[in-house]
Structures are given as C-alpha cells and as structure tokens.
C-alpha cells in the first residue's frame, strides 16, 4: 500500500521506511509540516503516519489542513506523550488511530494494516467468517465447522475483533484498547488469559488451533479455507 510518513527524526524515519519498504509498501516521507501537506495533496495515499512533534507545523495541524483539503485517507498519529487530552485532540483533528512512542515496529504494522482494511463506515455486515469459524452478529452465535460454540459476551467481542481483522496481526495493546476499552497496559497477562480461554473453547475437539500467536507481535486468526 501507499504510505505517507511525516517524521523529523531521520534515524527513526529511515528505520520505518526500510521496514515498511521490505514489507512491500511504498513510502513517501517528509520531515516537516509544510512539505508534508504538499506531498499528501500531490497524490493519494492509503494511509498517513504523522508524527505529532515536527518542525514548522505539527502533525495535528497537518492533518487538519489535509482533511480540509479533501484528503480522507486513514491517519495514525505518533506521539511521545500519552496524555489523555492529546489523544482526544488527535481524534478531533481527524486521526483514526494513535500510537505512543516508543512503539514496536510490529505494533505499527499491525495498526496500519487494520487502518487500511477498515470496513466502510456503514455497517452492513451481519456475519463474519474466517476459515472454519463463522460468527452471526445478529443472533450472536459462533460455529466452527457447523458445531455451535458457546461464548461469554467478552469472549464474543474478542473473537469478533479478531475476525474483523482476520489474516492480520492484532497486538496486545490493540486488544486492550479496542476490545476492553482500557487506556493502560495491565502488569498481568490478562490478554493472554482471555485469549487462551477463547482458544480452549474454539479448539475443543478440533486438531488445529484457530488463533495463531505471532511472536513479539500479537495474535492472528487464520483466514484460509479448511
């Protein structure tokens, strides 16, 4: 996909550009706000990655400017601060996601994939499917190869989020943020506990695991037939 990166620290920028290019993405980058606006408006991008603190115009101001100019590509704001107001400011400026520095590269990639694959705003999907697993969003039921699996509401939301991002890595912090709406990272392995419970229910009686662990990154539900 076409990614635009606004980052003034050259070392971080080249690390991100190299990493993203290796994954097959095309990256346009700029180190200051004004050239960033020109570059974003010059050609369409699938996703924008904007550092909040850059010279001249900061990331939020750039985002406001390009949103006003008609650009509606999903945007992820990078920031060194985790303040609640910053987060709110970011979403008000039109950001779709928010990542606090320092972050793991895998975390950024997972979030960019989630952003680029975001379903259209109007929700018409009533069922989700990945591999053997089928979820009915209206009747709130889950089946694996036709056998019904009884899930708790929180397990259901967890599985729903994984299914919506099927085939993509979902990180621990994404789950904390999106499934449980927690703005902090617990010191205990709460996420692992929930995932292993869900796994136990999904895999009971089946030979293969429905949810894959991606080491150093997160979890993924496998999206292939059979």
């Amino acid at each position: 996909m076409n990614i635009f990166l606004l980052e003034d620290d050259t070392e971080t920028a080249s690390y991100l550009i190299n990493g993203l290019t290796e994954l097959g993405h095309r990256v346009d980058a700029s180190g200051d706000g004004n050239t960033a606006i020109a570059a974003i408006m010059a050609r369409p991008h699938d996703v924008l990655v904007l550092d909040r603190m850059v010279p001249q115009r900061d990331g939020l101001s750039v985002l406001k400017a390009v949103r006003a100019g008609g650009c509606n590509a999903p945007a992820l704001i990078l920031t060194a601060r985790s303040r609640i107001e910053d987060r709110v400011d970011g979403f008000e400026a039109g950001a779709d996601d928010y990542l606090v520095k320092p972050f793991a590269f895998a975390e950024l990639v997972a979030r960019l994939n989630a952003l680029a694959r975001r379903p259209p705003p109007v929700e018409t999907v009533t069922s989700l499917r990945a591999g053997e697993i089928e979820m009915d969003l209206l009747r709130r039921t889950v089946h694996r190869t036709g056998r019904e699996i009884d899930l708790q509401p929180r397990e259901f939301s967890l599985l729903e989020y994984l299914l919506r991002n099927a085939g993509k890595v979902v990180t621990r912090t994404m789950l904390l943020d999106r499934v449980w709406n927690l703005g902090f990272d617990p010191r205990t392995n709460i996420v692992e506990t929930h995932v292993s419970r869900l796994r136990a229910k999904l895999d009971d009686g089946f030979g293969t695991g429905a949810i894959r662990t991606v080491r150093g990154a997160g979890y993924m539900i496998v999206d292939h037939e059979g």
Partner: protein, 456 residues
C-alpha cells in the same frame, strides 16, 4: 493602606489625633453655644423683671431696686455662674434717664447702642477689663435700662476645655504611641524569627522550621501553615531524591542485562539461541520503557491538568467492567473473587479510575499465592464513595504502610517479584488527582487498600 508597621503606626496616631481634636472642637462649640444662650436668657429674664417693676412703680423705685440688687448679687446670689470675676459678680446694670444721666447701676462701660450688643468692653469693680453681653431697652419716658452679663464665663470655659483636651490629647498620644511601639516590637520580633528561619532554610538547613510559641495567635497560625508547606516541600524533595536514586539503581540492572545479551550475541552462534537472546533483549527494553511510561504517567497525573477532562463516572459500572476482565485470571488461579458494589457516581476519568482497580488486582495476582481470595467492595461513606480492594495474602507489615505508596518502593527486599514498584504510587497519584485519599487499612490478616473518592 500603609504597608509597613511604621506607616501603620503613623496612620493610627494621625487618626487618633484628628479624632480627638475634632471631638474637642465639637464639644467646645456645643458648650460655647449653650453658655451664650444661658447668658442671653438670663439677661432677658432680668430685663423683663425690671421693666415690669418700672411699669408698676416708676423710674425712681427702679433705680433703688437696681442699687439693692447690685449689692445682693455681690453676695453671689445668682449662683449658677461661679467665680466669674473677683467680686463674685456676673451681672451689671445701668439705668439712664431721658436726659442721658446715669441714675443707678455700676456698669463701667460706654453706653451700648439700643438692643443686643455682643461684645461690650467694660471695667470690672476690681479694675480689670472684661467683655460683656448686654441688652439696652429704651424706657417709655426716654430713659434706658442696660442689663449686662460678663462673658468671662465663656472664656473660662474655653480655657478649661483647652486644658482638658490638651491632657486628653497627650494621654491618647502617649497610649497610642506606646501601643504602636509595643505592637511593632512584637511584629518585628515574630517576623525576625520567621526571617531567620527562612534564611537558615535557604542556607541549606532543611530541617529548620518556623518558631511557634503555642499561643495559636495569628503569627503562630502563619508559622504553622509555613511549616506545613515546608513539610510538604521537604517530603517532595525527599521523594524526588529517593526516586532519582532508585531510578538510577533500577535502570542499571536491566540495562546490564540487555548489554550482556547483546554481548553474548556478538560471539554466539546464529540460530534459535541467537533469536532467543534477541527476543529477551527486546523484552528487557520493553520493561524499561514500561518503567518510563509509568513514571511519566504518574507525573502527568500529579500535574493535575487532567482534571479538565473529568466527567461523571458510574464507578460501580467501571469497577464491574474491570472485575469482569480480571475474573478469568482469578478463576485460573482458583481464587475466590467477590465484587460487591452499590451505584455511585464520582467525577473523574473512567480509564484512570479503572486503572486504579486494575493495578490493585494486578498486585493481588502478582504478590499473593494462587488460591488467595480477592474481594472488591464499593459502598457509600460519610465522605464519598468508599472503594476497597482486599486480598487474604501475606499483607504488608505496618512499618511499610507509609512507604508502600512511594515510587519504586518494593517491600520485598529481594526484588525477586516482577514489577517496578510503581503500581501503588500510580494508584495514589490517580486517587489524589480525583480529590480522594488512599490508605492501607490496618487489619490482622491480608491486605486491604481503602480509597475514599468524593461522590457527585
């Protein structure tokens, strides 16, 4: 308002002086008026009496009466003006016939004009000169009757008043000055005490405090509040000093570990072992970054700018959600996990309040053995919502209760359990930012963290 004690003293003395003077002038004017009125009334009464006598008996009998009267008055018969002149006389008469000859009376003065005269100069029987108030009434046959009263009484009154108020003024001045000097001394003495202590503190004696005399007066209260401020500052300083030391100490170990791993990787073979070291190094770095994030989070929360975003939060729901999230972990460790809440609304930040509960549950999971019961309680209390998180684990000895909320404090000296020792400091920072209080509730067994949050 004067801003110095000297200025204040001067202003008070000035005001006292002006007020005393005004009072003196006012009193003098009032007494003066009253005395003049009385003189006039007396002259009028005398004149009226004498004229009546003239009408009844004629000119010559009047002359005789006047002569008689002058003798009687000489004995002080009209007693309400005493000591007016040397002869004890205050009233004089003069009777003049139509031809202008003096027939009776000894008023030693030029004949005043008909009607009232205010200041008639006359010679007293003892030879001194005086000023008199006089009324000249023309008789039907062309003669004149003059009744005069010595104004000396008024002058005497003026002197008396002047002396009286002179003494009064002097006494007032003396008292005010003494009071002000005394007051100034006390103020300066107390301020000197505060100044000396402040200078000593600035010079580095941080244990020095403002002097107290136990009087609970204004200065004691000022000193007391300054001492409380100093206690707070010194606690913060101690905390800062401790935290900087602890950070340096806490960072050395994991950094050393990362360094060792990287070192090992430079000469280790490639393959799975290599990758394990790499992941372990990343894990160590994540721990370090986590430590920094927690420290930053605490200072952000203590910065208090977060209050602007506070909204009403149904605390029971917020707590319930966290409890649901933690329930599987509790069940996996076969812990009895009970949650008893009542509906309470507090003003705050939902995520931060949830973070408090999550932190305490993390602590219970990390620091008590599997199977240890954990319970959350939320009730209404006298001062707001009372939130408690209790576990039946080993607890914290009372000596450690105060230290437990300090940053980077880990009460198990071995530092073998995971964590940075920031959980309870974060809890304390969040609760305090919400205007609440947090403490370790003393109990014989287990550990109960009790919080009071102001309810809406």
């Amino acid at each position: 308002m004067p801003r110095t004690v000297r200025g204040l003293a001067f202003a008070v003395a000035l005001i006292c002086g002006v007020v005393t003077t005004l009072l003196a002038i006012g009193a003098t004017v009032l007494v003066h008026r009253e005395l003049e009125r009385q003189l006039d009334a007396r002259i009028e009464a005398e004149t009226k009496g004498l004229l009546g006598y003239y009408e009844d008996h004629g000119f010559e009998p009047l002359a005789r009466l006047i002569a008689m009267r002058e003798q009687r008055i000489g004995l002080g018969g009209v007693g309400y003006l005493t000591g007016v002149d040397a002869a004890g006389r205050s009233t004089a008469y003069l009777l003049i016939d139509a031809q202008g000859r003096r027939h009776a009376g000894d008023l030693a003065a030029a004949t005043p004009k008909p009607g009232w005269s205010e200041f008639v100069r006359f010679r007293r029987p003892d030879g001194s000169t005086g000023v008199a108030q006089a009324m000249n009434s023309t008789l039907p046959d062309g003669g004149q009757l003059i009744v005069a009263a010595d104004r000396a009484v008024i002058q005497t009154m003026h002197w008396t008043m002047l002396k009286l108020f002179g003494v009064g003024w002097a006494v007032t001045l003396l008292l005010t000055t003494t009071a002000i000097i005394g007051f100034g001394r006390v103020v300066r003495y107390r301020l000197n005490g505060i100044e000396t202590s402040a200078a000593a503190i600035m010079a580095g004696d941080f244990s020095r405090r403002m002097p107290l005399d136990g009087s609970h007066g204004e200065f004691d209260r000022l000193s007391l509040i300054l001492n409380r401020m100093l206690d707070r500052i010194s606690a913060l300083l101690d905390n800062l000093r401790q935290v900087s030391g602890d950070i340096a100490h806490d960072l050395r170990t994991p950094l050393q570990r990362v360094r060792n791993r990287l070192d090992a990787m430079t000469n280790a073979a490639t393959g799975a072992a290599h990758e394990d070291q790499l992941h372990a190094a990343i894990q160590d770095m994540d721990d370090l970054l986590g430590l920094f994030s927690s420290l930053l989070a605490i200072s952000e929360i203590e910065g208090q700018s977060i209050r602007a975003g506070f909204k009403p939060v149904p605390l029971d729901e917020a707590v319930g959600e966290i409890a649901d999230i933690y329930r599987p972990a509790m069940e996996d460790e076969r812990r009895a996990f009970t949650v008893q809440t009542v509906p309470v609304i507090v003003r705050g930040d939902r995520r931060l309040l949830q973070n408090v509960v999550a932190n305490l549950l993390d602590n219970a999971l990390l620091h008590t053995p599997s199977g240890t019961p954990v319970c959350i309680g939320l009730q209404h209390g006298a001062e707001g919502a009372v939130l408690t998180v209790r576990d039946e684990g080993p607890g914290i000895p009372p000596a450690g209760h105060e230290r437990a909320f300090r940053r980077l404090t880990r009460l198990d000296a071995s530092r073998s359990t995971p964590g940075h020792g920031l959980g309870l400091s974060l809890v304390a920072a969040i609760v305090e930012a919400h205007g609440g209080t947090v403490e370790i509730v003393p109990s014989d067994t287990g550990l109960t963290i009790g919080m009071v949050l102001p309810a809406e």
